[in-house]
């Protein structure tokens, strides 16, 4: 992997409109049972504008930034050798249906451990007004030749 990736900031992704049915689909896929994830009345009664996405929903938006990273011509990342090391979501506010989200990726670190490389990718996700919603941080391990 190219160590010069460290510190690189990518162009913001195209706005992603969070659809109500997409939130419901994702909620079902992660076995969510809280009505605020799927029922508009329950969400509004709790003070939200619309149904609230599960805590890991930001991965759907983050996925677009990881695609940017893997497609970077000089990155030297072989997708078939990538293993997910760790993941974190740090939120300012929850994602709700109707949000229009944009993600900006920065490669915060690139480390080499023997034959393996570790890349930490930080995606800052903001809403249509430019306010911070959630930061998604992934560490990817790229296995070297065995």
């Amino acid at each position: 992997m190219n160590p010069e990736l460290q510190g690189r900031e990518f162009a913001p992704t195209a706005p992603y409109l969070v659809g109500r049915e997409k939130v419901r689909e994702f909620a079902r896929a992660v076995f969510a049972t809280n009505p605020i994830n799927v029922d508009v009345d329950a969400a509004r009664a709790a003070g939200h504008a619309d149904i609230v996405a599960p805590p890991t929903f930001a991965v759907v938006v983050q996925e677009h930034t990881l695609a940017q990273l893997l497609a970077e011509p000089d990155a030297g990342i072989d997708f078939t050798r990538v293993v997910h090391g760790d993941q974190r979501f740090t939120s300012t506010r929850p994602i709700v249906a109707g949000d229009e989200l944009t993600a900006t990726l920065t490669v915060s670190s690139v480390k080499t451990l023997g034959a393996h490389s570790m890349v930490t990718a930080e995606s800052v996700i903001t809403d249509a007004g430019g306010a911070h919603v959630v930061t998604a941080i992934s560490t990817l391990v790229v296995r070297g030749d065995d």
Partner: protein
């Protein structure tokens, strides 16, 4: 009178102690669960649904997406907290894969315990133990829940 839906009550912060188990749940994963998650998340890596591809890269079988395990493991905490919006931070380390058998699936168990209390922020660090076949599959799985 119109029917109203009440806002969910938050757990009582002052009644919590470090070490309290706040939630426990068992999840049964099947290959259908993986296909459903692939579609919902957009992660179509074939190691999560094709035995031949999984075998060709040296895996013991088709694996659950790490992000599926992460996504379901927080759900007992969401239900305990009452509102998914109370989850402010969530992190995990992926330490062991969950192999999903085509016929019998896989059983994943989650135990959520109070790890730390921040009285000023009225925030709880909930530590998750997530196990498959008797071994933990997530490390440093921590959820910060704000009850203010």
């Amino acid at each position: 009178m119109p029917e109203t839906v009440a806002a969910p009550a938050a757990p009582d912060f002052d009644a919590l102690a470090v070490g309290d188990i706040v939630a426990e749940r068992e999840f049964h994963l099947t290959r259908d669960s993986l296909v459903r998650y692939a579609g919902a998340s957009g992660d179509f890596n074939p190691i999560h649904y094709r035995d031949d591809v999984a075998a060709s890269v040296g895996l013991p079988g088709v694996l659950a997406h790490g992000m599926l395990t992460m996504g379901l493991a927080v759900q007992p905490v969401v239900d305990w907290a009452g509102d998914p919006a109370r989850v402010a931070d969530y992190q995990v380390r992926f330490t062991r894969p969950v192999v999903v058998d085509p016929e019998t699936g896989a059983d994943v168990s989650v135990t959520a315990k109070v790890g730390q209390l921040d009285a000023e922020a009225r925030a709880v660090r909930v530590d998750l133990t997530v196990s498959f076949e008797g071994a933990t599959v997530l490390g440093k799985a921590q959820v910060r829940v704000v009850l203010a």
